[in-house]
Symmetry: C2
Subunit: 685 residues, 2 copies
Amino acid sequence: MTSSTDPLVLFMPSGKRGRFPVGTPVLDAARSLGVYVESVCGGRATCGRCQVEVQEGSFAKHKIVSSNAHISARGAKEERYDRVRGLPENRRLSCSATIQGDLVIDVPQDTVVNAQVVRKSAIDRIIERNPAVQLCYVEVDEPDMHKPLGDLDRLKVMLDKDWGWDNLLVSQYLIPQVQGILRKGNWGVTAAIHRDLEASRPNIIALWPGLHNEAYGIACDIGSTTIAMHLVSLLSGRIVASSGMQNPQIRFGEDLMSRVSYVMMNPDGRAQLTKAVRDAVTELTRKVCAEGGVDPNNVLDAVIVGNPIMHHLFLGIDPTELGQAPFALAVSGSVHTWASDLGLGINTGARIYMLPCIAGHVGADAAGATLSEGPHRQDRMMLLVDVGTNAEIVLGNRERIVAASSPTGPAFEGAEISAGQRAAPGAIERVRIDPATLEPRFKIIGSDLWSNEPGFDADAERLGITGICGSAIIEVVAEMYLAGIISEDGVIDGALAARSPRIRQTGRTHSYLLHHGKQEISVTQNDVRAIQLAKSALYAGVKLLMEKLGVDHVDTIALAGAFGSFIDPKYAMVLGLIPDCDLAEVKAVGNAAGTGALMALLNRDYRREIEQTVQRIEKIETALEPRFQQHFVNAMALPNKVDAFPHLAQAVTLPVRSTTVDATTGDSTPRRRSREERDARRNRS
Amino acid sequence: MTSSTDPLVLFMPSGKRGRFPVGTPVLDAARSLGVYVESVCGGRATCGRCQVEVQEGSFAKHKIVSSNAHISARGAKEERYDRVRGLPENRRLSCSATIQGDLVIDVPQDTVVNAQVVRKSAIDRIIERNPAVQLCYVEVDEPDMHKPLGDLDRLKVMLDKDWGWDNLLVSQYLIPQVQGILRKGNWGVTAAIHRDLEASRPNIIALWPGLHNEAYGIACDIGSTTIAMHLVSLLSGRIVASSGMQNPQIRFGEDLMSRVSYVMMNPDGRAQLTKAVRDAVTELTRKVCAEGGVDPNNVLDAVIVGNPIMHHLFLGIDPTELGQAPFALAVSGSVHTWASDLGLGINTGARIYMLPCIAGHVGADAAGATLSEGPHRQDRMMLLVDVGTNAEIVLGNRERIVAASSPTGPAFEGAEISAGQRAAPGAIERVRIDPATLEPRFKIIGSDLWSNEPGFDADAERLGITGICGSAIIEVVAEMYLAGIISEDGVIDGALAARSPRIRQTGRTHSYLLHHGKQEISVTQNDVRAIQLAKSALYAGVKLLMEKLGVDHVDTIALAGAFGSFIDPKYAMVLGLIPDCDLAEVKAVGNAAGTGALMALLNRDYRREIEQTVQRIEKIETALEPRFQQHFVNAMALPNKVDAFPHLAQAVTLPVRSTTVDATTGDSTPRRRSREERDARRNRS
C-alpha cells in the first residue's frame, strides 16, 4: 500500500516512476515497476549485478552521505561488497539500498553491469533485456534425517522461496550431479533457469557450486556462404565477440540448389551436410568464446536463423522438398531444442531457439531481418530486401505485411560476371565514368585513392587489380547507363567504338574496357544481361508485393546483408533494383537477420513478437503469380519500362528514354518485348 | 442442452448416466459423463477401440436390428469396419452408433478392447485407465504454396482441431522425421501425445504413418535381488506379459550396502552398477516384449520403482550418501525423464516416470506398495510391511501415515541360517512338529506331499532335500516354539535331548534335526538367534510407528514382497514379527510395489495421488529414535515380552510364559534382560 505522501522514485532511462514507502529496497521498487534490474545472488549483496546510480534526491543533486539522505547510507553488505569487489562511489547495490525520500535512479547504461542498452543497431534501436535464462543463487538446507527431502527437492524449495520459481523441471543430465554440486558449494548453488514460453514449465538447465556470475548466449545467422555469430553476455547484454566463417557446405555446392541436389544424389548427403554445418557452428562458437575469453560451458542459450535450407539441414531435416514445388517446409514454426542434441559444444543444458520460417523460400533469416527492421512496428511502408542467391523481400507496415522470394541468381554476388570476384584486396569497388570522354576512374579495395589520383599506381602495384567485386558491378553498369554507353534496354552501343577505344567489339556484341593492366577487366554484354535479369527478378518481386498491398510507392527501404551494405543505394535505384524512394530513406542495415537473432536472444518477448508477425505475414509464391512474369519483363529496362523514379530524377540526370511505352500494359514495341521475354525464359528455365 | 424427455443412457459398469438428445453419438455421451472410452482414429470408425455393447433398450432386452431400435442401425462405417476387421454382432462402434432411445451401454470389461477393469489386484481393486500417453490419428492437409505452413505445423493444427491438443511440444528426434512419416502415410498419421502433469505442455513423443493402434507401457520394480516387470497395453489395460530376472548387480555385492561399498572403493563403480541395472531393465523389457509379441518401439511409457539405492543407481546417481547418516537422497520427488537418456531400447520418445522416494531407507518401492495397498484411502489402521534386507514399514490411515525402515538383516531371506537356501525345488517350505513326539513333518518345493505321506520318498529322491527356504524358517522356529522345543526367550531346551534324538548338543548350545538324509538339515541355536534379531528389528519398527500414531492395535496387515507371499501369517504372528491382529485381516499382497507402478502407468492420477501422499507421510528414522532400542529388546522374546496377542491366542495355543513381566516397563528379571540386551547390542554393532 502506497500513499501520495510516500517518496516518489523515478527510474532512468525508462522514465518509469512510482511512490514507495520509506525503507523499500530500490530493487523491489524497480521490479514492481517492471524496470529490469539483474540480480543473481537474490539480495545477498554478493553478485553486484543490481548496481544502480543515485543521481538526485528531491530532484536536486543528491549526496549519498548527507545527513538527510533520500537513500539509505551504505550498510554492512555494501561495505563488504566494496571491500571485496569494489563499488564506485556513485554506485549502490539496489538490493541493499532503501528508499528514504524522492529519488532519481539511473539504471546504468554501461555494458559491464546491468546495461539496458546493449547494442545500437543500424537503426539506433535499444534492445531491452529479458533473456530466457536467468541465474539464481540460493542457499539450500542441509540434509535432515527428520525431513528426508532429497537434495534436488530442497534446491527446488529454495528456488521457489527465494525466487518464486515453482513447478520447476530439471534437465535429466543434472540429476546425477546435484548432490556433488551442492556439497562442493557447501550448500550454496547457482541455478540457471530457462523459461521461454510462459505456457511451459521453467527448467533448471545448469547448476554451479556457489555463486556463479556468468551466462552467455550466441546469436547465429547460418547463411549459404557465410555463418555469422555474436557472443553476448545474457547478464549485461554486452556483445563479447562477433565473428564469421565460410559455410563449409560450399564444398558440396556453391549455391543452395546444388546442395539440395547433393542430398538427392547421395544416400548420406543429408547427414554430411548436417554434420558440416553443425561442425561449423560448433567451431565458430569455440572461436567467439576464445576471442571473448568465455568458457563455452557458460553459454546457456542460442538463437539461430538461416534460410529454409540451412534451417532444415541444421536441424537434420532433408531439404529435398524445398527444392521443388510446393516447396513444403517440414517445420515452419519456431523450434525449441537442446544444444546437446545438436552437439554444439556449449553447456549440456543449453537451449536453442530457431526463429520461424516465413515460407519455403523465405526463411528464419528473413524473419530475423523483419524482427530487426520492424516493418510491423511502423506506420510507414517499408521495403526490406535481403539479397543473396535469392532475394527475400518483405513489404509492409503495422497494418499488413507481405513477403516473397525472387530468383535473382548469383549475379549480384559476381558469380555470373566475367570479371566478377569476391570482395578482397585489389577488387574494384567503386567506379565513375566520364560521360564526355567515357573514361573510367575507380577505387580498389585496400586503397583510398581513385585510380586517377597520384599514388594510386603504387597501391595498384602492391595490391594488384584483380576483378570487380559484387557491389561494384551494380555501380559500373549504372555508370555505363548514365554515361550513355548502354541504352535503357541494356545494349552496349557499338557505335561508340568510334569515339572511345574502351568500347570494343567481341563477337556479335560489344564490351567496355574498365582497366587494362596485367589483366584486362571488361564489362561484357553478357555481364549487363546477367545484371538485368537479376535486377528484373528482384524488382518484379517487389512490384508484385506492392501490387498485393495496392501501394504505388514505399516510404523507406532497408537493404540487408553484405550486398546491401556495400552497394550505393543511388546506383541500385539507377539500375532499377529497387523502386523509387527518397534516397535518404534507403539504408543499408547490415546483417539484419543476425541482429534479429540477437534481439530474440536478449529478449524472449521478441520471440513471441516475430512468431505472431510471421503468422500475420501474407506469403506470396512468385512462381504461382501470373503477374510476376509481366513485372519481370517490364523491369528489364533501365531503370524500368513503366515505373517513374521521381526521387531518383532529382538526384541523378537519367538518360532520355528512347522507346515508347504503353503506360497501361508496360508493353513497348513488339520486337523488343519478344526478345526480352525469350531471354528471360531461357535464363529462368 | 438436454431435456427431461431426452433418452436416458446408463453406462456400465461405472453406473454413470445422463440424458442426451436423439442422434448423439454414444462416444460423445460417454465422454460428457467422464466414462473413459478409448478412441485412436478420432471418430473415423477405423481403429475399433471405441467398441461398446448395447445390452438393453428401454431397460428391457434390446435387439439391435429391431424396427424401433433405441440405437441407430449399423451405418456404412460400421459395416466397413465389420468387413475389414470383424465386429461381433453385439458390439457397436460408439463413435458411429447414435442414441435413439433409452439405453444401457456396457463398456466391455474384456481385455482385448477398451477394458476399464484391467487387473484385479490382491485386494480386488479396479484400476481405471487414464494413461499419460494417448494415440491420436489425424489427416493432415497437404502442403499448399499459398499457405506455406510446415508439415509439423499443419499436423499440430489438426491435433488441435480434431483432438483439442493445443500448445504441443515435439520431441526433437521427430523433427527430421515428420516430413517422411506424413508422406508415407499419405497425410494420415498417428501421434502419440504424452501429458503427465496438467501443468506441463503436452508433447508429441512418437509418430507413425497411417493409423497406428498399439501403445504399451512397462511397470518395473527394481529390487536388490530381483527385477520384476509387467508389459501392459495402454489402450486396453491388458497385461501382455509379466516377467522377472535376477538383478545382475548381485555380482558386485549380495546386499545393498556391499554394493554401496563397491561404489566407494572403485572409481568407476557407480558407472558399472548403473550400466548393470540399466542393461538388465533393457534385457527384461526385450524379454517381456518377446513374450507378448510386442515391438519394443510400441512401448511408449514406463513407470519404475525401487529402493533408494536402486532408484539412484538406475538414474546414475552416486548412492554413497545413502550409506551413511544423514542418508541424504539426491532426489526424493518423482522423476520424469526419457527412456532414450537411459538407453532402454524402447521407443525413442518414450517417457519414464519414477515414483517418489519416502526417505533415505524407504524408497519408491515402498511408495508403490503404499499406492497399491492404499492405507491413505482407508479409515482402518493399516500396517504395510515389505520385508527384504531392510523391512520397509508404513502404518496409518486416511488421517495420518508414518513410515520407517528397520534393519532386519538378511535372516528372513535365509542368508544367515545354517541350512537356509533360496526357494528352489527340494527346499523345505512347510514344517509341522508334533508337540508330543517332537517329530517333524515337512513339505518340499516341487512335491505336494507331506514327508510322512506315501510317495514322498520318491519325490524326495527325485528332487533332493537341500535346505530350508526363507519362509519355512519362520515356520520351523514358530513350530519349535509351539512344541516347547525353544523357550519364549529363544533357547533350545537341551533337556529335551533325553526325550528325542532330534535335540542334539553342538558345542555349548543345542540344535534341532529337521531331516537326516544325504544332507543333515538342522535348526541351530544361532539360527534361532538370527531369526529373533531380525524379527525384533521388524517388530520394534512397527511398535515405534504405532507409538508415533498413539495406537495400540492395527486393523489390517498387508505383507508385501516375495517373503510376505510365502510365509503363513499365523507363524509370523507366533514369532511376533507382526503385532496382534485378526488373522483374517493379515494378507499377503504380493509385489505391491510393482502393482503400484502398474497403477501409476495406467492412470496418471495415481502419480499425483502418491506424490501428495508421500509428502504427507511422516518419516521416522529408527536410528534417531531412543525408543527403538527398547522396543527391540522387548521384541526379542517369542512372541513378545510386553505385548499381548489376543487374536493369536484364539487361533493358536501359545506356551505359557515362564518369566514374570512388568507390564509397565516390559522389564523381566534383571538377569535375563541384561543378557538379551547384551545379545542385541553385540549383534547390532
